[in-house]
């Protein structure tokens, strides 16, 4: 599959280099994985259940320590960076399950989103005003409890929060899994827009078709290994690939 075109290394923001990772020391979930993610692009990661898609994100974020290999961000190894410093480094994360503080107000959730720069009050205020401008649907609820928002609104609040301190990379884990379909396309539009703003977006998704639609580059993982990669265009047109996807969609019952 490596016959597919390579894009110049200059725009590569994050790269996985021969990464191995395991839970409990002996249950390997990532095996010799080499991936790269570029600024200004949406990189989709798809694969059957249990392929290790979410684990890629967790390893990147430092929640799981690779047993071998290296993860490089902007020319610097990320290994050893504690996960709570990732925001500081410039990696935002929108996990699958809600990461909001439901009993705090929308504004307080955003304030906590500015944690790394909390001492700079003016910057916090500017950032919050900016993202509320970008997500006008949140503005009316600014002082309401986050728990009163609908599922879609909550997801936008999480995205807004991740954008507060202008990340260079933004990681999405199943961004539309728990929300109403009418919001889903809106979320994908946003994801595409983020990439156009120059952010390296990594999208892990169970929903293969919309994921390929919105992605610029796609990796397919199976059992912790990369089985295919390439431009999303190729995935959209290539019969062979569609057949392959259909196969594991059947297998995983998706």
């Amino acid at each position: 599959m490596n016959a597919l075109a390579q894009i110049g290394p200059d725009s590569t923001l994050i790269s996985f280099r021969n990464v191995y990772a395991a839970y409990f020391g002996d249950i390997h979930v990532l095996k010799n994985l080499t991936l790269s993610f570029r600024s200004g692009e949406v990189t989709g990661i798809i694969g059957p259940n249990g392929a290790g898609k979410s684990t890629v994100l967790k390893t990147l974020l430092g929640f799981l320590k690779p047993s071998a290999g290296d993860i490089v961000f902007d020319g610097r190894s990320l290994l050893g960076t504690p996960s709570h410093d990732m925001v500081h480094v410039g990696v935002g994360y929108v996990p699958q399950n809600s990461s909001l503080f439901l009993d705090l107000s929308v504004e307080d959730n955003l304030i906590l989103g500015c944690w790394p720069v909390r001492r700079d009050g003016a910057r916090v205020r500017r950032a919050i005003d900016r993202v509320l401008g970008d997500f006008p649907m949140l503005a009316p609820f600014r002082h309401g409890r986050a728990g009163e928002l609908s599922g879609g609104q909550r997801r936008f609040l999480e995205i807004a929060r991740a954008l507060l301190i202008e990340p260079k990379a933004l990681l999405f884990d199943e961004p539309t899994a728990m929300i109403a379909p009418k919001y889903a396309s809106e979320v994908y539009d946003h994801i595409a827009r983020l990439a156009r703003q120059g952010i390296a977006v990594i999208l892990v998704d169970q929903n293969v078709r919309p994921c390929i639609q919105v992605s610029d580059y796609v990796y397919i993982l199976e059992l912790g290994q990369k089985t295919m990669e390439g431009d999303a265009d190729a995935f959209r047109s290539d019969e062979r690939i569609r057949a392959e996807i259909g196969r594991w969609l059947e297998v995983s019952g998706g």
Binding site: H84, S98, S99, L100, F101, L112
Partner: protein, 294 residues
């Protein structure tokens, strides 16, 4: 009976605030870290002994004991948590692990106090001038006024911290979604360490204030405080600072009024019965979160 009644109510307000303070420091730690600090009472007691040393042995005002108790307990808790905190929080069941761990700590603190101060009762001899105020035929001891006064400064300060500062919000957020704190960039271990130490410091201050109002204690008085603290926070709702204050008030009022009408044994009984009733109706406590319900 009316003057007895007014007296009991004034009393209940004073005690309610102190009980609330007792619960407040406990609930911060429990809520944010799921750490059941069974040594909380001993930490409070250590504060009382600081008051004893500062007043009775050194001859200073009990107010001087407040910063001493805070700093001492803060440092001790800091050291303790630096050693044990990470392991406790990584346990499969942090509640259980911390309960056991702090039971051991409570034994160690109590025997340490025993070693330093012997088994007999120690009392804070310091007296305020004037001893008490007379307001509308009511005698109000100055020691209580001072204790309540300090608590009235401390409690709003704590609430300001919890509700207005980013760190305070992070602490309350930890009650709701601990994992998400890491995602927004909070160093949860450090936050826990600081929160635990501050909580112990407040426990120490509470001990000084309690020593003003209840001026005698032995190295074994700690468990009573621990039980009161837990009852108060469960009544109010775990992890809710406002609930701790409310729980303290309700516990104090039920105790005082029942003591007045029936007798002191029944007074304690009433407090616990109200707890059982409240939890039967609202399993998460008065201002608790639904996630605690089964």
């Amino acid at each position: 009976m009316t003057s007895l009644m007014t007296g009991a109510i004034v009393n209940a307000i004073a005690l309610g605030i102190l009980y609330g303070l007792l619960g407040l420091s406990l609930t911060i730690v429990y809520g944010a870290m799921r750490i059941a600090n069974l040594a909380h009472g001993e930490m409070v007691l250590a504060g009382s002994y600081v008051a004893y040393v500062v007043t009775t042995q050194l001859g200073y005002s009990p107010l001087a004991a407040i910063p001493v108790a805070f700093i001492l307990l803060f440092l001790l808790a800091f050291a303790l948590f630096a050693v044990a905190g990470r392991r406790l929080q990584a346990a499969r069941d942090p509640e259980m692990a911390s309960f056991l761990f702090f039971y051991g700590v409570s034994l160690m603190v109590a025997s340490g106090l025993l070693f330093l101060f012997d088994a007999d009762a120690r009392s804070v001899i310091f007296q305020f001038q004037p001893l008490s105020y007379r307001v509308l035929g009511l005698v109000i001891p100055k020691a209580r006024v001072v204790a309540v006064g300090v608590a009235m400064v401390l409690v709003p300060a704590l609430f300001l911290f919890l509700y207005r500062t980013t760190s305070g919000k992070a602490l309350r957020a930890a009650v709701m979604n601990r994992d998400a704190l890491r995602i927004v960039g909070v160093d949860v271990e450090r936050l826990s360490l600081v929160a635990f130490s501050v909580s112990a410091g407040i426990a120490g201050v509470t001990g000084v204030l309690l020593a003003l109002v209840f001026p005698a204690f032995t190295p074994f008085s700690g468990l009573d405080y621990t039980i009161t603290g837990f009852v108060v926070i469960v009544l109010g709702g775990l992890g809710s600072p406002l609930g701790a204050l409310l729980g303290g008030m309700i516990f104090a009022f039920s105790e005082q009024l029942t003591t007045l009408w029936i007798g002191q044994s029944a007074g304690v009984l009433a407090g616990f019965l109200i707890l059982v009733l409240v939890v039967a109706i609202r399993p998460a406590g008065l201002i608790g979160q639904a996630e605690w319900k089964s």
